[in-house]
Amino acid sequence: MKFRTIRRHFRESFKTLGRNGWMTFASVSAVTVTLLLVGVFVAIMLNLNKVADDLEHDVEMKVYVELAADEASTTALEDQIRETPGVAEVIYSSRDHELEQMISDFGDDLKLYEQSNPLREAFYVKAANPQQTAKVAQTIDEYPNTYEVVYGEGKVEKLFDFLNFGRTAGLVLILALLFTAMFLISNTIRITIVARKNEIGIMKLVGASNSFVRVPFVLEGIWMGILGSIIPILAVVFGYIEFYDYAEPRLRGEMIQILPPVPFLYIVSGLLFFMGIFIGIWGSFMSVRKFLKV
């Protein structure tokens, strides 16, 4: 293909974009609306995924220390727990701290125990992989000076089941949505090209090769993909920043956090942009192909 032909194809693709006015608008707006949908739902899903992770990481076990243990052996136990494979975080809670906790849960009446605290020291332990909590708990339970390890057996397994189900469902939904988006956009592009089937036939009859017919269509597809991804990207970027500014201060100190805009928004924008271009190319390419056999 000569350089002037490439230039001609570029010129042609822009010209057609303009002259097909209404059809171009229909395609671009289909791309826009669909990518907007994808962008919003991807943003939501990624954040829900984050919430699931946070919930999961909130699972901890409580290790009660033998009453008989002296300070040195307690420290030794702490070190041992820390070095246990799979342990991510160990927080010590003194007997006084435990009592405070109990008073706040069961009423001031218990203040009378401040004199003779009946509670044990404890360690709050998080597993690096929360789904391994049960296994880690079992290991720690064997250590000398461990009185008991509790972690909400039964409940935790249910939570994991639920989160795993949610994550799988979310992934399926996102994939379904991406597929749907691809289908809808390429469907729209295809109809606009079917409407130009006669034109393609004429070009072929006048001696145009397949690539000569196809390249301007594919370029058009690219422009439509780019045009159609602008609004969704802007909307998701500014919408999310707005949302983050609203939500982040309110969630400060909570166990659930949302994703910070960077690099999250780069990823979503990139996804939308390349999806737009990819579908534009793919939709045009496949649709034109059907009518080239003239």
Binding site: R19, E199, M203, G207, A208, S209, N210, F212, K293, V294
Partner: protein, 229 residues
Amino acid sequence: MINMKDVYKKYANGVVAANGLNVKIAPGEFVYVVGPSGAGKSTFIKMMYREEKPTSGEIYVDGTNLVTLKNREVPFVRRKIGVVFQDFKLLPKLTVYENVAFAMEVIEAPSDSIRDRVTEVLDLVGLKSKARMLPTELSGGEQQRVSIARSIVNRPKVVIADEPTGNLDPETSWGIMNVFKDINEQLGTTIVMATHNKDIVNRIRHRVIAIEGGLIVRDEAEGVYGYEI
């Protein structure tokens, strides 16, 4: 230049539009194709640039076998042939100028030669002043002349014209015939022209092929239109 051997064409709906055509057209010849409406003239013509493929038989254009030709190769054969379509087949979104230029862009001609040549042929068919208009803004005869301009713009070896004067008044028709005569005589272009125009056939004498019901019923050098009323 064009050589058909035992060509049959049966359309999907069962109509047999070519029922054993045997024709040889030499380079530089000028041939009229005549016959009643629905006789198979357009089918005969469409098979020459492979708009239609014959059901059986062989067709050679400039030495290439159109029947066995690969799809990829078809454009190269078509570029040797300029076609005036019975229904014009103009690209609706392109202006008159762009429609004609398109045929030159296809062969990757340089921009300035495109500009000069397109202007030249538009002048030849009397449409220089309408170059910037879209086909929908033209009268029937003007559209037909755009199709004619496009067919000759690349100076093809063969021009195939399907009723090129059907929408033209006699005066304009004669003008177009002069254009064909010039390229035939000066460039040695082979011309195949299906027509109903008795006046033209009888006054500018050339070989006449008469088709009826998909059969060649007459093939005369320097023939007449026939079918007197």
